[in-house]
């Protein structure tokens, strides 16, 4: 699992993002997509790839560029198949590699996004950082203590515990959001 600090992670992500962008954009733009759609799909592909790294399910048996391109292509084709934006001309979708991106791979939609942002706001910046860094990015307590200038790992652990309790209380006030989150299983 990755336990790297935020600045190292951001540097690596930016390199991956910028290096592989053109190929994916070219594909989507030449297959009935526009620049905004290309950005959206590409960002979701990078997120899906990164989460595989976090879960240690990316084995490195294909090049990163190939992998990202395949995920993006899979997402774009699924989008075209499901959307009303059908081809004006016939388009062969061809064989696409299937990706099991997991039940939580879809970014929560705009309506729920507002609820998520409200709760994050109520949680406060400090709690948001600790929880997202430790639980989503899998950063160690030691790294969080160093990057956020806490005096020790134990201080971070204690704060994390309090933040989780606070989050649970906030979620308890939003049963609709809980239902949405649980429906992703």
């Amino acid at each position: 699992m990755i336990k790297r600090n935020a600045s190292s992670r951001d540097r690596a992500l930016k390199i991956i993002y910028s290096t592989n962008k053109q190929k994916v954009f070219s594909y989507i733009l030449s297959n009935n997509g526009n620049k905004d759609e290309a950005k959206d799909v590409y960002q979701e592909a990078v997120i899906a790839f990164y989460e595989r790294i976090l879960k240690n399910t990316f084995k490195g048996d294909s090049a990163i560029s190939t992998y990202l391109y395949s995920i993006a292509r899979f997402k774009w084709i699924n989008h075209l198949k499901s959307s009303k934006k059908r081809m004006e001309r016939n388009m062969e979708f061809g064989q696409t590699e299937e990706f099991d991106l997991g039940p939580m791979s879809k970014l929560i939609d705009d309506e729920q996004k507002a609820s998520v942002l409200r709760i994050l706001d109520a949680l406060g910046d400090q709690c948001r950082k600790i929880l997202v860094e430790s639980i989503y990015y899998n950063v160690s307590m030691k790294e969080i203590a160093a990057q956020e200038n806490y005096s020790s790992e134990q201080v971070v652990r204690n704060k994390k515990y309090k933040c989780i309790q606070k989050l649970k209380a906030l979620l308890a006030e939003n049963p609709a959001l809980i239902h949405i989150l649980r429906s992703y299983e």
Binding site: I15, Y17, G60, L171
Partner: protein
Amino acid sequence: MIERYLKGDMNQIEKNDFEDRLRHDAKLAEAFEHTKTAHQFIHQAGRLDLKKKLASFDEEIEQEEKRVFPMWVKRAISVAAVLLISIGIYQFFIKESNTKSTGEIYAEYFTGYSGPGVLRNSNQDLPHWKEATKLYYEKKYEEAIPNFEKAKAPPYASSFYIGLSHMLKDTPNFEEAIGSFNVVLESNNDFFHQALWYKGLSLLKLKEKEKASAIFKSVRANKQYKFKEAEEIIKLLKE
């Protein structure tokens, strides 16, 4: 424990045990569901955070691309970058260093111990023990220590939790922790094996590699609390 399960940090035996407990313990099952939902929320928050970060890269890239380079320079840079990056990213993300510091080993293996329950001997100074227990569960370890000291509990019980509190408080004091664990280790009692384990961890934190190794060898030999983890730590300390 719940978090370890959700993060996938348990081995198969631990997972089976935990899942069995979930089936039979309604309170644990409820706590599990709440924690799981909280984690699902944090994953969504993490994705939003990551998406925002990636969107900021787009803006930075667009700024950078405004500088004009000849096409052949761009291609050469791309090819070289892809090669270097593939090697670098593999090293960065996939390859794990085999050499761990004592601090890293501590961070990997330290987990808290559940709070005090009911003591066997009922003739206790209960108010101080109860107060100490309450503070311990509230993670107010600094305040818990004097209450454990005042409680007329068996020395091994008070000392064990005093030792843990010294490890867990905001400004940990591992020398004090070891002092308390040594009291526990003077006799054969309910907390002996746990105290040995935590003494070993405290020594790791103090970078006393050889002393820690000796302690973990005793843990391994006793085949009681955390003896398998002790075996793993001994191997790591040899590297």
